[in-house]
């Protein structure tokens, strides 16, 4: 199939789209600049995955979603993510590109927590959004897709946690692409101010098994001095969606950022998760699991860059491949000159369940400093027949034994997903994908 590489959207379209949404001038300017850059910049160029024939241009951009009157109207697939007592939760449901339901407790509002649609935030908290939006996190001009993201952003969430505010209950967002053709250019901007704490969990869900569309997702997470951020995600776009996912962390002094990512898309996926450990004693765990099936191609990069003294970064990626799926897992630990006593560890493991599947784990350590610790482990293999023999020798069927081994293999990441309902949903998604 021949694929257009240029977008069917021009500067006028983007300007009109901005006006329609009453966007502030600074953001309108970003979009204008970005649409030009999108023409000129190259596509991302993952080393071992050919993305030339992936669909990045065939989609509907402007599809509205109506409000949710009652949770009963949500499909089962969405309801299971929410669990019981939904009314008491700090939750946003995004339907197609629009916020359809939003709830934040009065207590958190009183403490100054901002949790809302990013377009609303641009007007109500313009300075704050402008300060962080695609500045020190992801840049507009990184590649064609980041530029397109800024130009066509049609959805997003802004979460701000003020200084010293500790939020105990997880904050949850469900992005529900109800319309099969609707593209999601979604931006999550999370700023945890000094010594604050927050747990954020997001779900992406669509049903377009046949119909093609695009997801272009950028998350920027800022953990300022002493802040603790736990960021969980389950990506579950259907087969028709080609996804570009760019999740970026910026971690300052004594701050912590924990990623737990369930990368369960059924379509082609290019995902990069980069964390900049900027401050001294900063810490990040980047944990991700993936299951590939069908003819799916995926390319995952987990990259932690150390700038701060004694900064610690731990990458853990586990992937299961079946059918004719192919995935690349890149793990990159980069220690910059001056990041004395940094510790960069990584582990990437791929389990292949079929003859036709392909998996590749590439551990990369780039070290420009003498006094550091670093380590990596990588493996690509099949389910160990001796493990299966052991389990079966207790009466467990071969299928059940494989199931146990696979769940066990993915457990180190799955159990880190912060919300219990989302965790059990991830287990079910894994179950559904593996069998």
């Amino acid at each position: 199939m021949a694929v257009d590489t240029q977008l069917p959207f021009d500067k006028d379209y983007v300007a009109n789209y901005s006006d329609k949404r009453n966007e502030p001038v600074w953001f309108k300017d970003i979009r204008q600049k970005a649409i030009d850059l999108a023409d000129d910049l190259p596509m991302p160029n993952p080393e071992k995955t050919r993305i030339k024939n992936w669909n990045f241009t065939d989609f509907e951009h402007d599809v509205a979603g109506s409000d949710i009157q009652s949770f009963d109207e949500l499909p089962e697939k969405i309801r299971v993510l929410l669990g019981e007592n939904v009314e008491d939760r700090n939750l946003i449901v995004v339907r197609n590109n629009d916020v359809a339901y939003a709830q934040l407790s009065d207590d958190l509002k009183a403490k100054g927590v901002i949790f809302e649609d990013i377009f609303t935030a641009m007007n109500e908290h313009s300075d704050l959004v402008q300060k962080y939006f695609m500045q020190d996190g992801v840049s507009i001009d990184e590649n064609k897709l980041t530029a397109r993201h800024a130009a066509l952003m049609n959805s997003g969430i802004f979460l701000y946690v003020p200084k010293n505010v500790v939020i105990e209950e997880p904050i949850q967002v469900v992005f529900w692409q109800e319309d099969d053709r609707a593209a999601l250019f979604n931006h999550v901007l999370l700023v945890a101010d000094e010594h604050s704490q927050v747990t954020y969990v997001e779900n992406y869900v669509s049903n377009n098994d046949e119909t093609e569309t695009v997801a272009n997702i950028v998350s920027e997470v800022f953990a300022l001095d002493g802040a603790k951020v736990s960021y969980g995600a389950v990506d579950n776009f259907a087969q028709g969606t080609t996804s570009y996912v760019n999740r970026r962390g910026h971690v300052e002094r004594d701050a912590t950022l924990e990623w737990a990512l369930g990368q369960m898309n059924d379509g082609h996926t290019l995902s990069e998760n980069v964390t900049n450990l900027v401050g001294d004693n900063s810490l990040s765990h980047a944990k991700a699991v993936s299951v590939g099936r069908g003819n799916q191609k995926q390319d995952f990069t987990a990259n932690i860059r150390h700038w701060g003294l004694a900064s610690e970064g731990y990458i853990l990626q586990h992937g299961v491949m079946k059918d004719n799926a192919a995935s690349i897992f890149n793990g990159i630990g980069k220690v910059e000159n001056g990041a004395t006593k940094a510790n960069a560890e990584q582990e990437s493991r791929v389990l292949m369940l079929s003859e036709g599947s392909r998996g590749d784990a590439n551990p990369i350590l780039l070290i420009d400093e003498d006094d550091v610790t670093a380590g990596h482990a990588a493996s690509v293999g099949r389910v160990d027949p001796i493990q299966l023999y052991y389990l079966m020798s207790r009466g467990i069927s071969q299928q059940e034994a494989e199931r146990l081994v696979i769940h066990g293999f993915l457990a180190p990441v799955v159990r880190e997903i912060p919300i219990e309902t989302v965790q059990s949903q991830l287990r079910e998604v894994i179950e559904g994908k593996v069998y």
Partner: protein, 261 residues
């Protein structure tokens, strides 16, 4: 109900093209404890693995029956469901699967669907067996064998034995790597299993295990065959005199597999 009978007839086994067992004959009945002894490299562990269906072992000749059913026609899980159990010398580590979850899956795999063991009953049962075996209760929540010491792995095998209550169990060098206190504890667990409905084949090359578990029959393996059988007095003589007198009696120079008499 009378116990089960495991019959091993003229068993020949190869691993990677090399013949290890060269015609083993053994019959184990419910209520009986058999010990298979012999120096290293004589085929004892191969016998255990072949009966359970280890994927690397190829049966080239002979038959195995459990209560008249052809064991060699069964998959590994079917052998377990038919009542066989093997306490392994080197049990696998299964990351991400807790010992407790694994045990419950195992027990339920041997029960009818809809008749799964109630959770409270399972926990109660497991706790009492953990006590018997003097195992730290935390072990149930640790990943199966992952990071376990040698001794912990052996106790865990016996825990599984006690929880699953098989008809016939084979214990493959369950005593190796155990200190004397651990050996006593493990033996206590195994002795608790003794009944007319339970037959056991204990593989060891040390007599000391048999100080705690008294076998009814003792067999000596050399060169991939059972070369001598007797009662408990045979084990005692082996302890006192070693294996040389048997080799002499049978005209064997080198008892290991691959050597011919």
């Amino acid at each position: 109900m009378a116990g089960s009978t495991l019959e091993i007839k003229d068993l020949h086994v190869e691993i990677e093209g090399e013949e290890i067992l060269k015609g083993v004959n053994l019959t184990i009945k419910g209520g009986e404890f058999h010990a298979v002894m012999g120096p290293n490299g004589t085929g004892k562990s191969t016998l255990a693995s072949a009966v359970m269906g280890h994927p690397k072992y190829e049966i080239t000749q002979g038959e195995i029956y459990l209560d008249g059913e052809d064991v060699l026609e069964m998959e590994v899980d079917e052998r377990a469901q038919a009542g066989l159990f093997l306490a392994m010398q080197y049990p696998s580590e299964i990351s991400g699967v807790t010992t407790s979850d694994f045990l419950r899956s195992s027990i339920n795999s041997q029960r009818e669907e809809g008749d799964e063991i109630p959770l409270m009953q399972f926990i109660k049962d497991m706790d009492s067996k953990l006590d018997t075996l003097e195992i730290d209760k935390n072990m149930a929540q640790r990943y199966l064998n992952e990071g376990f010491s040698g001794g912990e792995k052996k106790r865990n095998e016996i825990l599984q034995l006690m929880m699953l209550q098989p008809a016939i169990a084979i214990l493959d060098e369950i005593d190796s790597g155990l200190d004397i206190d651990a050996l006593k504890v493990v033996s206590k667990g195994i002795n608790e299993m003794r009944s007319d409905d339970f037959g056991c084949l204990i593989i060891t090359h040390y007599q000391r295990l048999l100080d705690y578990i008294t076998p009814d029959y003792v067999h000596v393996m050399m060169q991939g065959r059972v070369v001598k059988s007797g009662g408990p007095e045979l084990a005692q003589r082996l302890e006192a005199e070693g294996y040389d007198w048997i080799k002499e009696e049978l005209g064997i120079d080198d008892e290991t597999v691959g050597q011919e008499a």
